[in-house]
Symmetry: C3
Subunit: 419 residues, 3 copies
């Protein structure tokens, strides 16, 4: 699926984006919402559809140096049309290169600062020694519709968890198709489940303006959304990185980080806006304030190569993406969801310490002192005021270790779940 | 008193325990509560009375290697009866030794995992080279009553502080008779006092099941119990160790630690379940949640010899117990109680700073800068929102230093006590 | 002005004090409140007026060693009258010297411990070898009035900020005339302003008893006083020192420290009672609890010369005072006030992130990543729950940087101010 979609010129409102979304919609029951150009959404306006018919750079004697047909990244996304002969100096002002990889074409977008622009490898740019060049950029801006794919997985309540990926990075694989694929696989799995506590909504959209459009048109949903998770860059060969919500200490922050720590020893976490920025910015923002985390596999900000060397370039292709990593990330997201679903508040039906021997809970201190201590640290906190995740966090134990004890208590009638 | 009681086989429900409790009841007005075998208490059941009529281990040619008559620790407390010839291999599965001291007989109890068992020194066990041995354990399990001794010292209110020790460690001195003796001396002293703010209840009971039985039968008392202190292992030549309550920050935690720091420079404190575990576990537990501290003289958990080398062994005899330490600990508990009793909330009847010179409160900054500063740090906080202990803690001063200033303010009418 | 006032014997209730206050009252519209000797104020009593007619120390052969005429510091402020011949030993008990500077006469006051006393340089004292000396101290205690000068600068609300300096340190310049001068200049500037949110009251008073008298007579004002700032020792060549209020975390603590950090890189802050003690003690105290900070230029308490070498001595003269420092401190106080006045709570009228490009707010991440990040850290927190100062503090940005963004949001209608 990545192989068939990655190369499409999926600009935010474009035929390429629409084609990709329709293709994804064959995989899972999906509603596609359309919001027309010019619609006011929150403080934003839906932009025009952008089409690039043809574009190239030529020497004055007609040698073609680069073309849109060869790679859509050669044209700045949402570039103004332009045709003419320009001096080398003028050309270089409009010719973007990648900051790290001399051979890569960068991904550049100018959605709102209108200008014309081309992109090339630094190698190519450095070879430009002529005085003048011919530029042809045949783009047009037209009325269109921004499209959002939404998969709804109903649960026992309408308290909702949102999963989200964006699809608008043309001709790149890891950023952003891998997030879409993982999200889709997770949605497929959740659709097969029964008895989910929460309703899940998986959104595929163009970055930023897509989230804005969705939030603008669904104000009734906002109070029901408990939180969300943005997915992206999950094909890389790096550990998982979980970026916390703006609040940083919500139930989702707790459950997702407990789940992650258990599955990926090298995984790390970071505060909001310190790992990588995507649509979680709109959900976490003022007036919305939905706790929204993000999961990726980027390098930490301390790394000189962060988020990853091939970021926003023509080198971000399927070669970077490992199927095993996508499967691991799918499992990671499902475990995060399982943890959240299971994060109930156990209420003691015992007082003091329960008679462990009588109920088969006894762990002998002499043969297993750590197990014994953990058991009692957990039992101390089964008091109707703490969720399983909060107990795990307070005791520095895994979610599963606490859940196992709580399940034993439930089985023998020594506890019940709140609500 | 230790000399006359330590050697008794004081198993949790047993003739030895009853004899010891009756003997203690001659020292102080005590009510003895009895709870019969089979009574459901919280999630527990009162066990049967256990009697060991005779027990020994012999070689096949009739050489007696150990016997209950010689030392009751040779038989696992609540051992099943057993008579027969066993192989060396089978015997060793049932023959317990002390983990640290090769010459000591360990104290082993199996109240709820029913099995037969003997205890011996490692030296003896290592000398067993025959193929077979004869075992005789003549114990029986019968209907009996768990007994709790309770001394009530009424105060001006029925808000109650509980002191507690257990009495059920057979043939040992430091653990647990020293706690009983200190508690009894404290109770005797409190009985001679007038005008106590709180009511005190001193409980002598078998560990764990005794507390469970008491809590089960006194649900009306639980809301009146402000907190408590468990006492044990107070004859040792180590500094005092105060284990905080589950909450860790209650008025008792504050007052008892302030009192202790003042009296014993080397004393130390530890969180709940990190110093030593006893009946405070039941009081602190879910559904009860009475802040219950414990005072002992154990070694810190970082010590390889913790809680102390002779713990749970035949070496825990009166030689380990110093009368001076018991007297110091009695004084320590009384000072803790005095501190709690005196921990009132002073309310300022002055505004700004009081006119210290006028009221004889002046401390000259030039001759006593620290005294001057302490005075004003205290005065700043005499505002009706902080107890004396809280002021002491905020100013890093002793409880007595703050109380002295508060008493001066009261004397000249510059403050009054809340309520 | 310092030159004309510093040398006056401005004892707390005295002709010198009155003369200085009247002189200051010519500079600005000022109300002078008078509180007569013997008035009970809070827990205090207004003392008598003190006048020193003549005082000197002579050798038995009539050689005058020191005299009040020569320097009023030679007599302990509020010294009892005394005339007679005393032994050298007796004299030394009543003859005070400066602890650090051998050549300086100390400033000593005994307002409430009544005694007679003289002050001299250590050099002079060490030269006293005769057996007997003649002492003449002709002082009298009479009915008078404690005087407080008050400048009121009305604002849009009667929520009030108090500025305060004391004027009662005789024949010294830095402590306390510099605070008075800075306060007066600030009051003059504020009087020229329009549209102040808060009402300002600038108080000139004798230390401690002046504040007590003011608070006693203005109980109706206390609930309206949001906070205050004491000013003193501002002519020194050291960085500014801001002492926090008792609470330490009020809006004034926040705004004043943000303002200070921006203007004086070497400025430092300290908790209440750790920098220098003055009238803020009375305002912060129990029963009043007005958050009252102080601004000075003393050395930190870790310095062996703290608060400054010439403190409370005849060496504290106009040579120590730099006009430039006074002007800088005036600017500092005004900036603190501006910051407090501007510390409004912005409320977002956008949701998620605003469409920055549309509103001219865009900061390009590629060319200015720090500016971009700061912008969004600010925008995240414009949610009606945080003041500008709180946002600055949370983002580790200057108050001005945050205010600039908030002003931009206000200008384009993306935010409004609370209330």
């Amino acid at each position: 699926m990545i192989d068939s979609l990655w190369h499409l010129p999926r600009d935010i409102i474009s035929d390429g984006y629409d084609a990709a979304l329709l293709s994804l919609a064959t995989q899972v029951p999906m509603t596609i919402h359309e919001y027309p150009t010019g619609t006011e959404c929150l403080s934003w306006v839906i932009p025009e559809k952008w089409t690039c018919h043809e574009a190239y750079l030529e020497t004055m004697d007609g040698r073609r140096l680069l073309s849109y047909a060869e790679n859509p990244l050669h044209v700045v996304s949402y570039s103004l049309p332009f045709e003419g002969v320009v001096t080398r100096e003028e050309l270089l002002k409009h010719l973007h290169v990648h900051p790290r990889i001399p051979e890569a074409i960068p991904f550049i977008f100018k959605y709102y600062e209108k200008d014309w622009g081309l992109c090339a490898s630094k190698v190519l740019r450095d070879s430009l020694t002529d005085d003048r060049y011919r530029v042809v950029i045949r783009t047009d801006f037209s009325y269109g519709t921004l499209k959002i794919g939404e998969v709804v997985i109903p649960g026992d309540t309408d308290e909702t968890i949102v999963l989200c990926s964006h699809l608008c990075h043309p001709h790149q694989a890891n950023d952003d198709l891998t997030g879409v694929i993982v999200g889709l696989k997770v949605a497929q799995e959740l659709l097969s489940r029964k008895g989910l506590r929460y309703t899940y909504r998986y959104l595929i959209l163009p970055e930023t303006i897509g989230s804005i459009a969705y939030l603008h048109h669904n104000p009734h949903l906002v109070p029901k959304i408990k939180g969300g998770l943005f997915l992206e860059m999950l094909g890389l060969d790096y550990p998982h990185a979980l970026q916390f919500s703006f609040q940083g200490n919500t139930e989702l922050d707790l459950c997702f980080s407990l789940a992650m720590k258990n599955l990926d020893y090298h995984a790390w976490t970071g505060q909001f806006r310190t790992v990588i920025g995507n649509d979680e910015r709109q959900f976490n923002g003022p007036g919305v304030r939905i706790p929204f985390l993000s999961l990726s596999r980027v390098l930490p900000p301390s790394s000189p190569l962060a988020p990853y060397p091939e970021y926003h370039s023509s080198f971000d292709n399927p070669d970077l993406v490992s199927t095993r990593h996508l499967e691991d990330s799918r499992q990671m997201v499902l475990t995060m969801i399982d943890t959240l679903e299971a994060n109930r508040v156990p209420v003691n039906k015992f007082k003091g310490e329960p008679f462990c021997s009588r109920y088969g809970l006894h762990v002998d201190w002499y043969t297993n002192p750590e197990g014994h201590d953990s058991l009692f640290h957990i039992l101390d906190r089964v008091d109707g005021s703490r969720s399983i995740g909060e107990i795990a966090s307070a005791c520095n134990l895994s979610f599963d270790a606490v859940k196992k004890v709580v399940d034993q208590l439930l089985a023998v009638g020594l506890a019940e779940l709140k609500d």
